[in-house]
Symmetry: C2
Subunit: 406 residues, 2 copies
């Protein structure tokens, strides 16, 4: 939560934060600090223990006043941006002066952390220029102050993620309905009067997302049969959709607010065979065990162990053989981690996997997504995005988990 | 062009480039160096005068081999990533070792520039760690090596931008067709059986873009009447679309490849009045003059001057009053710059505005977008994205410029 910034700064001995970027687009930390999107970016200043100060373009002033988390919004012009630009001629020479000026006025004298997604070489130059005028710029390894603060979501964020989740669920349910009702013509499944291919489904999914105000900047996974056996295969556009084959549908859209959601369902159109049923049951059981286990105070690592227990008992390999069994790699069975945080990114802390001894905390939002993959055959993954509470978990979207669409 | 990297490196005294990022998404420089999208990012190494080396996750190896500009693709594992991770425990500690190891093997001994959109504080830490083991990391101000190389587009890029342009033009033409054919019911314009509002049009536009495989990460401007008089007003969702009012429709979508396009049309549904016609004619004349002027070897600044000449002669203010006339600001007339480069970003070099004495070069792609805004009344902007050639310009998309949809 944004209120965690101060404690995270203190824990790291940081006096000041400076967030900087020419847009908040695709910049989760700056979006978070600012409290919303600003097309022309921002320079964000925070002295530990004090309210943040936001400098924005005068074009964004009204919008920043309305949406930002801080009352202290001022414009670059008020801090002499245009004069400095006339003097130095280059934006990249102006900002070191402007930033150091603000830091002096805000009385930040100790270590300063810069954040925001920014070109590395210009960022390194900015740090050098600031150091030259006495600013104590320090680097940080992950988890940074902002990553740590973003782990626990406040009510506004939880509501927004739920809103994204509800819309995502609607798209998934509608797509499953289309497939359920698809008719065969001359041996081919038809959807909206066209031969049902992976490409067609993706275009339908994209249009449905757009209709809900969502985009899928990283694409969508819609993979059938052997393609679905590779968890990273997004699906082959020309491939035809057939009855009786496992289909992995993994959707991870983003709303205009910057928040993401992550949801996977696996199903067969028509009747599944016994092999499919066994895989599906193992994955579903693994997910249920994990969802039952998760709550604030539990170990991330243990959730992963639980999923492996269930899947191994059902007779499949798991990635545990690599971590504790000395295997070099695992190419079949449960080959990836159990889950990850979701928020202003589609993969963030906490990570539900081996080697993570962290305890879960209230207000974290995580995916729970066990899977079993049989190369050359197919895969099953079931994924929900849930909120961690003191008592357990809360689902943020509802879509039925049925193997057969029949 | 990618071939410009060597000359740009030499001009700046740089021996090695290191591109680094955890995804190529929303990272134009890394996408450019790699030659395509890589979900899990890349570490890119280039010794001046030599072919680049790409390190990728083994999951991305096949895709990188297929799409990247270099034949030299290897995996992190081949360079001992897992062993280093076991030793250091944190990814952010692994990469300095891995990067310095590669630079030694590639015999990069001089100045090294890091690039890629990356968290500032982790980037500053990465630079510090690399310097500790002897890598001569230097910062750079804009224009960086990559920004400079990206200015001129190669044939593959021009074709892709044209493809994005053609799809964008199709969406714009279809939307204008819908508005043209809209019928009135009880005094309200109806589209697809709903009352035509800005919000409805935006949702239709988004769906049409999705159907073409395009997204609009920065939104779309669809503004009517006084809203359109502010070039930064994206349009008010609840506002109703009426006949006889200026509508500014500015669309800037991005394809999966990462390339953008930028196109604006202004029109009136039904009949325009004389005032609208005068504004429209001034803006159209300004654009024509500029399009006639532009070709390789001409000055960016002069194009802007030309646009101001035409618009001032027609009786409107221009931003020239600020640059050369000493006015503090201009709130009516032509209040912004003439255009900007388009490619893997929606705003890049070259900039067509005052203070830019650079000469245009073949293979640059720029917007030409004069506008006239009358606060409280409305605005007109006409924008095309064109390619600069030795003989003039080439249009990259075709949409008619008609003031009246009637």
């Amino acid at each position: 939560m944004i209120d965690d910034l101060d404690s995270e700064m203190r824990a790291r001995g940081i006096s000041g934060l400076v967030g900087f970027g020419e847009t908040t687009l695709a910049d989760p930390d700056l979006t978070y600090a600012v409290g919303g999107a600003l097309t022309r970016g921002s320079a964000y200043f925070k002295h530990v223990g004090k309210q943040a100060l936001l400098l924005v373009s005068s074009l964004d002033f009204a919008s920043a006043k309305k949406h930002s988390r801080t009352n202290r919004v001022e414009t670059y012009s008020q801090w002499g941006y245009e004069k400095l630009l006339k003097k130095y001629g280059n934006r990249d020479q102006v900002f070191p002066h402007l930033i150091s000026q603000v830091l002096r006025k805000e009385r930040v004298r100790g270590n300063v952390v810069l954040f925001g997604r920014y070109d590395l070489t210009r960022g390194i130059q900015l740090a050098a220029s600031l150091r030259k005028v006495g600013v104590k710029v320090v680097g940080q390894r992950s988890p940074t102050v902002l990553e740590a603060a973003r782990e626990r979501k406040d009510n506004r964020e939880l509501e927004e993620i739920r809103r994204v989740g509800e819309r995502t669920a609607k798209v998934v349910t509608e797509v499953m309905g289309l497939l359920h009702n698809a008719k065969e013509r001359r041996g081919r499944l038809m959807i909206e009067k066209k031969s049902a291919t992976i490409g067609l489904m993706k275009s339908i999914i994209q249009s449905k997302l757009a209709g809900m105000g969502l985009i899928a900047p990283e694409g969508t996974i819609f993979a059938i049969g052997p393609s679905g056996a590779d968890p990273h295969n997004v699906g082959v556009p020309d491939e035809r959709i057939r009855k009786g084959r496992l289909i992995v549908f993994d959707i991870f859209p983003q709303a205009e607010s910057g928040y993401w959601f992550d949801l996977t369902r696996t199903f067969v159109i028509g009747r599944a065979n016994d092999k499919d049923r066994r895989i599906f049951a193992a994955v579903e059981d693994a997910q249920t065990s994990c969802l039952d286990y998760l709550k604030a105070g539990q170990k991330c690592e243990t959730a992963m162990e639980l999923a492996c227990n269930v899947i191994e008992r059902a007779g499949y390999h798991t990635v545990r053989e690599v971590y504790t069994g000395g295997a070099k790699s695992v190419s079949s069975g449960f080959t990836h981690a159990l889950g990850h945080g979701v928020g202003l990114t589609i993969g963030e802390r906490p990570y539900l996997g081996f080697m993570n001894r962290d305890l879960l905390r209230e207000r974290q939002v995580v995916t729970v997504e066990p899977g079993v993959y049989l190369p050359g055959y197919g895969g099953v993954r079931i994924e929900d995005t849930v909120q961690i509470t003191s008592k357990g978990i809360e689902h943020l979207a509802h879509v039925e988990k049925e193997l057969e669409l029949s």
